[in-house]
Point group: none
Chain length 289, copies 2
DNA sequence: CATCTGGGTGAAAATTATTCTCAACTCGGG
DNA sequence: CCCGAGTTGAGAATAATTTTCACCCAGATG
């Protein structure tokens, strides 16, 4: 749970109450320095109190300040090894040269994927995969960009014989959710965890006894709160990448790990399905010239 | 001073007096666990006392135990990241532990994005963007996974007022392609560059005078050969990731650069469109709780 | 062999860091 | 206007860390 703390702090700090937010900002301004500081020093630097810093640690799942310090140090070590720039990312503007912008974007996306991996709990991924392997029905809910991710993953799981559906139409999604029951799995994808359609469908699925899984950037969000299991995505909203677009790579990555965990558990079936589907689709490919 | 502490502890521990040596051994047995432990716990684990652990810290140049803890955490974080980086290329099998698989996947996806950026020609991206800005119609063709990418990017461009379409139905796609003309843009997405439906639609668009753009992993492929402009994607097919799935992150990345280049050229229009669409969608989000 | 000196050690006292408690304040809803 | 929920930090309580010093042991010296 301590893993990936910096990414989560970056994502969630803007939405925290005043004093907690100032603590988050002080940490993000210089994470390595924060790791080296006593709680008294960090409280002073952020214009808050030791009690507030302790509460901040609790918000992010740490028992106390020592846990946060160790996590920050671990991640700054990780970032140093990966040669990440630890400061706030450069914002692309309308006059930036395109080749520079491409470099900034690649570095940012690269980092998002690794931050997502760092904050992912393998135990939770395994639980989701195990439930999917046993499920008679799997539904994936998402709207707009998250909807495209849902469609992609739905198709992918179907190709290894997981009975999986996703719908662009919110009514169809909700109707299918109402038909779920014990032993089924419902996954809701929403960057902010506040999309009404996704909340509604996932809530319905949960009411029917399905296992509910949230894929969201915000561990503290309505979607996370109504789900039994939560898989968080690192995200960064920028000038040209707002809302769900900030988390596309991360969402794909998270669901990819679930897919791989399912495939590992159904290896023979997966291999057979690959052969069948590849052969069937061969006629949709022109010959090599 | 903190740099390389673990290495120095490893080198110097055998020559330390009895109790100090036991402290060094306990740290080396599990550095990450030591970083998470209080001085009392580590003293117990090493069969010594808190005073001895404090002295140990002094021997290695730390003012106190907090300094040692932070250094241990930093170095274990660095080592974990290096371990990930070394895992690139490892083929995930059915018995691989999931947390290791996650690390391998993150490093691999990260690398793919970096490679895609490195092989991307900013001049070609700029040409595509300029053509899109002037176009009366933009069509994006793709099937299966590439189709989901096409839909995602289509929606995204529409949100900044680019008249853009993508179709899941191959007949609809082909029919629209037949209606393109000079000054229009058609983008075909296909990992191997051999998908019949995409080739057919992009070919038809080219016959009608539209600018044709290929997004593919293979510069030498039927799709690349029938296109005026080619944007290549890095890809790696693995045990559980075949065909278009090997290039999803790369395809998204490439089209993201096109999108940003378009947005840069239409900055005012893009900002206005953001405001309008975000406001319109606000009612589809529940309030923060 | 006896004595002295220096280094190592940990128990206990002292100090500092961290966590907990609760009163006061603010804001929003009825 | 009142009430309830949430936030905050001062101060008390607790835990962690550092310092002090008495004791022990080994080696050197007379």
């Amino acid at each position: 749970m301590a893993a990936g703390a910096l990414g989560r702090i970056q994502t969630e700090t803007p939405a925290l109450p005043e004093a907690l937010r100032r603590v988050g900002e002080a940490i993000l301004a210089d994470p390595a320095e924060a790791a080296r500081s006593t709680i008294i020093t960090l409280a002073e630097r952020s214009g808050s109190s030791p009690a507030t810093v302790t509460r901040f640690c609790r918000v992010f799942g740490f028992a106390g300040y020592a846990g946060l310090r160790v996590a920050l140090a671990t991640e700054t070590g990780r970032a140093a090894q990966a040669n990440w720039d630890m400061g706030v990312g450069h914002e692309i503007g309308p006059t930036d040269p395109l080749d520079a912008a491409i470099g900034v974007m690649a570095a940012a996306d690269s980092r998002l994927i690794q931050e997502t991996a760092a904050q992912l709990d393998a135990g939770t991924v395994a639980k989701v995969a195990e439930a999917i392997v046993e499920a008679r029905r799997v539904l994936i809910f998402g709207v707009s960009t998250s909807g495209a991710v849902a469609g992609m993953m739905g198709g992918r799981l179907r190709r290894i014989r997981v009975p999986c559906w996703s719908h662009a139409d919110a009514h169809e999604a909700l109707a299918d959710a109402a038909l779920l029951g014990e032993g089924d799995v419902a996954i809701g994808i929403s960057h902010q965890g506040r999309t009404r359609e996704v909340l509604e469908s996932l809530g319905e699925a949960g009411d029917r006894g399905a296992l509910t899984v949230a894929v969201t950037s915000f561990a503290r969000s309505p979607l996370a709160e109504l789900s039994e299991l939560v898989l968080t995505t690192a995200s960064r909203e920028t000038t040209f990448r707002l809302g769900g677009l900030a988390a596309v790579h991360s969402q794909l990555f998270v669901l990819d790990t679930v897919y791989v965990a399912v495939a590992q558990r159904t290896y023979e079936q997966t291999n057979e399905a690959f052969e069948l589907t590849i052969r069937a689709l061969e006629s949709h490919r022109v010959e090599r010239n």
